[in-house]
Symmetry: C2
Subunit: 207 residues, 2 copies
């Protein structure tokens, strides 16, 4: 058996970044940074801690977070987006995050994590609309019957540098109160066509 | 958010049992028990420990094992089956295990684990030929490019008490030296038709 021994584990990987970060920074550098730090301090970090996540790394406008449970990961992401949307309602400097979630067998090296499970999470996040939470098909499969969220299925996408199409799912709150977040900050790319496509299906999974 | 808080985690769940256990016990109770205990002591338990698995529970002829990594789980299972086949070659009392592997978001309660991730592992194991290792599609998805095994794809199966069809994959050693184990102990049910079906595909996954 010539399988190389490395430290591996199954994990839910969450990639998040700020939609239109460069544009926001260009318009108001200090205000954007202050708003971002306030979201981190008052919403993001407490939500991650409450849902047993671990911040693996942060970049200027993004972060990579690992959870042992995909239910915890998606619940945390939805709590974050709901609270940020609420805060944005009162704020002058409105910041919207994109969040992508995948599950995968990751490789662990010290505090950092690697592997296509991580890369796919980042690509799924790239596809996500501002204020939204997108899942890969693998993450979705493990959520069946385990949450009260709804899932919208835009079908498969070809993701950059991923050798096979990845099925995506958009997570929606049962109360349907989150659609206004999509309009907060114009997406840096055209709104994905599936959002109004007749192929879209919004389904309540069996519980 | 009315999602109930329970302790959850992603895990690779391995279900194993002895093929034709009742028949073996009926024919030679003491010899079967002794052979089984020797396999446990000399092969099964050391392999599980070496691959960082945790024995969740044992029954007379079976066990449930949890791994953080599906690569570790499948490598452990294949090591076990290879060593048991080798020992059976010299033994008068030949014992063959069936092994099923699934990944799932399991619920943890003390030392025990629950959830459809566990149920599906047990059902996948039921489908497995004696001496073999079968995976669910979810487990297979996380192995792409991460091992040197081959995978045979019998397609989807309807599994008892599982509300959706589950895709199965049979794991094969790269050396192809394990086919004789299937003949060790006649299966307690007819050999699944896919083993000779033209629909079968044996594929080397991209590495």
């Amino acid at each position: 058996m010539s399988v190389e021994r490395v430290e591996r584990r199954l994990a839910a990987v969450v990639a998040a970044d700020v939609a239109g970060y460069s544009r926001l920074m260009g318009a108001d550098e200090v205000g954007t940074l202050e708003a971002l730090k306030a979201h981190r301090r008052e919403v993001v970090d407490p939500a991650i801690a409450a849902h047993h996540g671990r911040i693996v790394k942060t970049t200027g406008d993004g972060m990579l977070v690992e959870f042992a449970s995909v239910v915890d990961a998606v619940t945390c992401a939805m709590v974050m987006q709901d609270k940020i949307a609420e805060r944005n309602g009162k704020a002058t400097q409105k910041i919207a995050f994109r969040i992508g979630i995948n599950i995968g067998e990751i490789i662990s090296d010290g505090d950092d994590i690697f592997g296509d499970g991580v890369n796919i999470a980042a690509r799924v996040e790239n596809e996500c609309e501002p204020g939204g939470v997108y899942l890969s098909g693998s993450a979705f499969e493990q959520l069946r019957g385990k949450t009260e969220f709804f899932f919208e299925d835009p079908g498969e996408r070809e993701l950059k540098n991923i050798d096979r199409p990845v099925r995506l799912f958009a997570v929606r709150s049962a109360v349907g109160g989150r659609t206004e977040t999509a309009a907060l900050s114009p997406p840096s790319r055209p709104t994905p066509p599936f959002l109004t496509s007749p192929r879209s299906q919004c389904c309540r999974l069996p519980t």
